[in-house]
Subunit: 279 residues, 2 copies
Amino acid sequence: VPPLSHWVNGQLGGAIDATDRGFAYGDTLFETFRCHLGKVHLWDYHAERLRRGLETLDIRCSLGRVEQQLGQGLEWLREQEIEQAAGRLAVSRGPAGRGYRSAGGEPTLVLSLGEIHPWRRPHAPLQVAICRTRLGCQPALAGIKHGNRLEQVLAARELDVLGMDEGLQLNTRGELVCAVSGNILLVSNGQLMTPPIVDCGVAGTVRRLVLDELAPALGLPAIEKVLLPADLDTADELMVSNAVAGIRSVSRCGSACFTSTKWGDNLRENFYSWSESAA
Amino acid sequence: VPPLSHWVNGQLGGAIDATDRGFAYGDTLFETFRCHLGKVHLWDYHAERLRRGLETLDIRCSLGRVEQQLGQGLEWLREQEIEQAAGRLAVSRGPAGRGYRSAGGEPTLVLSLGEIHPWRRPHAPLQVAICRTRLGCQPALAGIKHGNRLEQVLAARELDVLGMDEGLQLNTRGELVCAVSGNILLVSNGQLMTPPIVDCGVAGTVRRLVLDELAPALGLPAIEKVLLPADLDTADELMVSNAVAGIRSVSRCGSACFTSTKWGDNLRENFYSWSESAA
């Protein structure tokens, strides 16, 4: 699906300089999100993660500039009378000379808007596999949504070959970390568990919403816990969360089968209600 | 230093599509090299590493297409009567829709040519530091020159702060792996040692030339060996190699001081002679 529209440094349909460090080194940060009735869903969480990423990589781009670019995109959606869209905003260190040390110029800002399924679209539970491609442990880059994503690219190609909807990725120690395009939420014995994002993986916005808001509101204890593949066999329910698709149930992962529980049903229901009321 | 000239898919001065997966995910491979009198120095080694990278990432770009693009660049250098240049050739998976799984279109090929110092330029020995940013262990991507280089970007920023010429990077186990922009060559007790490139790091072309050709021709035993920072204290000579700058001596790394040995002098001399005769 090609994007509906995109802007490079505010220019509709613009292109990227051939010397951009985003292209050269993946020297970028990005956020993917849902635009809904003139707002970016969970923008506060996205902005906070982006701010942390900009600090980590020392890319000097103000959130004000980012939000101005977002405003331009949201205005365009209004003009086109498009109620919902998937958004992707990337910030790179910008064009630069040769070599890792070459100072970047002005950061490059790219916003893309694409088509999206409406909220609450019923979906068949996902079939997932554990990917062979593991995530290297790199605490300096864990949590932020940076542009070095070859580990996800390789894992996604495994899913294409297997014909799977999603994949779970382990770190090199063999612990569950993330889905290829989202976070892992496991319900077991009336408790919700998600792997800590310490050595690798992305600290997702919906994951944070679940931990901080939705699970407590349901009275569902929710914790970060190191999880192993064997924990899938004894779990009641497995879900995958991301900012664009929301919270989706998994029916199967290898020999482990899952059904939806009342906790999962309530969590998803509250997620959609919360999201609609926030919009 | 801005590039002398660049081509995107054969187009002089072209730009990169905003949806290119190189910009989105660092989904690229690249080679940096020295162009010298109408040839690419060590092209066979570069081509072999690039071929391995294209296979690893499953990017469908023929070496024929790559070499045609190189030919265009070399022809341009001839027309401009430029004898030497630094080259950078990148191949990305190309423009694509949203998400890791979106199939790439035609790969994007970018060639940049930049100014370079002449061969044999005398240089002051490098002052290097051990960087705090370590390299995560990811065997699936080790050795190839892929475009996920944030670990090098972070390390390079440390060097800027410290005012160092180069940096050495350890893996997360604390073993020496690579320089930020090159490979590590250590001479100790009449033996040349370089860290194995198994879990991370780039298998450099000059490193390979040293191991396969130059050291054997000198009667200098050369091996891949796990090296720790403590090994620097007892070493006679430390050098850093890369395709653009060649083989450079290091004068100091932390408390360890180095002088040039006859092995190092001969290695560098043979490298320049070999390079000039190959050109």
